[in-house]
Subunit: 142 residues, 2 copies
DNA sequence: TCATGTATTTAGAATAAGTCTAAAGTAAGA
DNA sequence: TCTTACTTTAGACTTATTCTAAATACATGA
């Protein structure tokens, strides 16, 4: 809590969007800001209700979906599929993995290096019931 | 029809359902048979259109969904999530992984032991663009 | 400043996957 | 046979997401 306004050192959502060639409209900026500060891997609906009150003007469902798709195509965010019927979004675009707590439904990030010895040792704060490796790429013939 | 009925040596879908405590109705049996003989990881719609003509009586959408859910709860099949908005089904219930060919959309099974050294070496018929590890389990606190 | 064009947002309609409902069919036991 | 429980069915419903067409905002140049 300082008496003076120190200049922000954190790279702003606005800068990030500009650097990816996405025009930083107010709607896009608040959505990006929300995703950048949360660790909860929210759905589109969750983004909408979280961000709606943060804007002076109303935010439409269509704009939330448009923006999420735009940000995804621009490489600012990633989709996360953990359960049928709902897509979650993640502003952590580093190569990492996810751990679903089946009790709480929370999805936490697992850094890549943790998974070297897969399924074996994740630290004993995690009780692994199972895991799934999903590859994306190309196979020969078929 | 044949002169003699030879005894089936392949463990039948009917036997499998019985062994899992699921009453083998004609609809359930054809759906299970279809899933057991394919390697394509079909969606509910694909199951419906593939199996509809194989039954003398019409097969309803509701029954396909009911049966897929029943078989999943009985441990006869598993869900596979690879893309938003569609659930795929897999009668291979061994612990294994999946490789999505981004060109063709085909999903092929990768046996567990192949993934020991994850992402590294899958055999050079696979070009890995990326992979995702999805854990299921429980974490401490939050 | 105005005109015009282009991108963005919006409400609500449309679509698509999946679930639910209520009625009809099936099988088995008493 | 009567009863009961289970299963299937058509179609209504729900929910997530996309589409459409109109309204806004923004930029650029005359
Ligand atoms: Mn949602
Ligand atoms: Mn489908
Ligand atoms: Zn994440
Ligand atoms: Zn499989």
């Amino acid at each position: 809590m300082t008496a003076h306004n120190h200049t922000e050192q954190i790279p702003s959502a606005e800068q990030l969007l500009l650097s990816r060639g996405v025009k930083p409209t107010p709607q896009r900026v608040v959505i990006a800001e929300y995703l950048l500060q949360t660790e909860s891997h929210p759905t589109a609906d969750e983004v909408l209700s979280a961000v709606a009150q943060a804007l002076p003007v109303a935010l439409s469902r269509a704009t939330v979906y448009n923006t999420l798709n735009t940000l995804k195509e621009a490489g600012v965010i990633k989709e996360v599929l953990t359960e049928p019927g709902r897509v979650r979004y993640d502003a952590n675009i580093t190569h990492h993995h996810h751990f679903v707590d089946v009790k709480t439904g929370k999805i936490v990030d697992i850094p890549s290096d943790k998974v070297e010895a897969i399924g074996k040792l994740l630290g004993d704060q995690y009780k692994v019931h199972g895991f799934q490796v999903l590859f994306y790429g190309e196979v020969e013939s078929g």
